[in-house]
């Protein structure tokens, strides 16, 4: 964990209520599947945001405007400096993926799948990605995933783009050895119930500190109580209790 100053390089809207922020700073401590916790002027608690892409000293975050804090972030301009706690959470373990990993992202759960897809394709794995959104205007990063050489399927709940339905409705279109997923809890539960292989789930919870001190984001697992921020956000399928 490091508390560092990052500078905004770009901050732009990429889909409905969805923004991409590229920050410059020391990214040496940041791993795939982790999150950062950002201090914002005028807000008491920091904002935990998942890592979408890390390359050299550039950190890309994608966030959805859901409240006052993310609304303030959306208005931030180039060169603004932000205090960012990095290196938070356990991250994904790519070693378990097998040859044909499937990545399932829903809405604000899509961003962490991107860095994961970059690493898995780099390792020579044959990566399939299913991205779920409510409707066409919310879709983002389809091209970016395709550029990595991944097999990309987009599903929208209202059928306005791609496969009509939920991410699980596209499962019969892919062949996979293992899966990784991040998204809203109902989606995670559906993924849990509709997947044949083992996999890793990234969870979201309201956090106090983001580094394991306050016990604000605890959950029960088959292996005892865990803190989403410190022992998670990634949990193995076998340990989850719904």
């Amino acid at each position: 964990m490091k508390d560092l100053i990052f500078k905004i390089l770009t901050n732009k809207q990429i889909a409905k209520n969805t923004y991409e922020m590229v920050l410059m700073g020391d990214c040496t401590d940041i791993k795939c599947g982790q999150f950062v916790n950002i201090k914002l002027d005028g807000f008491y608690l920091r904002r935990p945001i998942s890592v979408c892409c890390v390359e050299g000293n550039e950190l890309t975050l994608i966030y959805k405007v859901v409240g006052g804090g993310t609304e303030a972030m959306a208005k931030m301009e180039r060169d603004t400096e932000l205090l960012v706690l990095t290196g938070l959470g356990n991250g994904y373990d790519t070693g378990l993926s097998g040859e044909k990993p499937l990545l399932i992202g829903g809405g604000a759960g899509v961003p962490p799948m991107y860095q994961l897809a970059r690493e898995l394709t780099k390792e020579g794995k044959s990566v399939s990605v299913i991205l779920g959104f409510n409707s066409k205007d919310e879709v983002f990063y389809e091209e970016e995933f395709k550029k990595l050489g991944a097999n990309v399927i987009v599903a929208t709940a209202d059928g306005s783009y791609g496969v009509k339905g939920f991410v699980t409705d596209a499962f019969n279109m892919v062949d996979y050895t293992y899966f990784y997923t991040c998204g809203p809890e109902p989606m995670l539960k559906a993924v849990y119930n509709n997947t044949a292989t083992s996999g890793q789930f990234s969870f979201e919870e309201r956090m106090g500190c983001g580094f394991g001190a306050c016990m604000g984001c605890s959950c029960k697992t088959k292996y005892g109580n865990k803190r989403i921020c410190k022992d998670g956000p990634v949990l193995q399928k076998e340990e989850i209790i719904w």
Binding site: M1, D3, L45, R206, M207, G208, M215, C217, N225
Partner: protein, 303 residues
């Protein structure tokens, strides 16, 4: 050269800073980013006789200049604290630590303190009397002088270590409760615990935290804390650990002027894990600004 040294119940502290229970775990998370031996001490995670998962999530809500938590005393229980947490703590922390203890009956407090009493690393007990009294109809021990006095007396009987009672601010007469603790043998008073609060989500039209209510902490509560420390200082002669919204070196000085011998830092640790070392580094400069040579000399200086 200025001196940050202070004293709490006969134990000297290098400085008055004590991270508050529940915001500092058992210290390791913070020891990853700074040497926690720079602290005066710290109050470890509230420990109960039996393991507790705590309340359902969400447990956290952000507020203006503060936060609400309804963690609900999640802890592994006293036996695991002794067998797992304290041995790890001893490896990284070499000063007396404050053992924060909670209970739901007087017997629970007594049993937990008895078990922890053998641990050398524990310098003080901080008895949290804000939990509901299961044998007393669910009302918190901390809301009546009689119950607060009874817990104090029972705990004092089973330990020779200093016993500090941590008071709830959610009472009509904090002075009467502090006095009852002193009369029953308390060696110190710690205040304030969190203020009972609520935050409602306008979209869902429901309270944000699953438990509906929770403890409000952060800079917004500091004036309440300073007032209560001031009032209790006037009424008792035992030392006070003051806390509530303290986030800066100036806040530490203010709390000591109100009457605190040592100062707890709570929510500030959660938003800035470096909050305590920053305050310690800042204190000499701020002391000089206000003409303070020895921090000890200003305790109760506002009276």
């Amino acid at each position: 050269m200025v001196s940050l040294k202070t004293e709490l119940c006969g134990i000297e502290l290098d400085n008055p800073l004590i991270p508050a229970s529940g915001t500092f775990g058992f210290g390791y998370e913070f020891n990853e980013i700074y040497d926690i031996n720079c602290l005066g001490s710290f109050s470890f995670k509230g420990t109960t006789l039996n393991p507790r998962f705590g309340n359902p999530t969400p447990r956290i809500a952000e507020c203006e200049r503060g936060m609400i938590n309804s963690v609900g005393l999640q802890n592994p229980g006293v036996d695991k604290v002794i067998s797992e947490e304290l041995p790890k703590l001893k490896k990284c922390f070499h000063k007396p630590v404050m053992a924060n203890v909670s209970g739901f009956s007087i017997e629970e407090y007594v049993e937990t303190v008895k078990k922890l009493d053998k641990e050398d690393i524990i310098g003080w007990f901080e008895i949290n009397i804000s939990c509901p009294n299961v044998h007393g109809g669910g009302m918190s021990f901390g809301v009546s002088p009689e119950n607060a006095g009874a817990v104090t007396k029972a705990v004092k009987a089973v330990t020779s270590k200093p016993v500090i009672i941590k008071l709830s601010p959610n009472v009509t007469d904090i002075v009467a409760i502090a006095k009852a603790c002193e009369e029953n043998g308390a060696d110190g008073i710690s205040l304030i615990n969190t203020l009972l609060g609520m935050k409602i989500d306008l979209k869902r039209r429901r309270p944000v935290v699953a438990n509906k209510m929770g403890g409000f902490s952060g800079p917004a509560i500091k004036p309440v804390a300073v007032r209560m420390v001031y009032q209790v200082y006037e009424a008792v002669s035992i030392p006070i650990v003051g806390g509530g919204g303290v986030s800066t070196a100036e806040d530490v000085i203010e709390m000591m002027l109100a009457g605190a011998s040592a100062v707890e830092i709570g929510a500030a640790n959660l938003v800035d894990p470096m909050a305590c070392p920053k305050i310690i580094e800042d204190l000499p400069r701020v002391m000089e600004k206000y003409g303070i040579k020895n921090l000890k000399d200003i305790i109760g200086g506002a009276h």
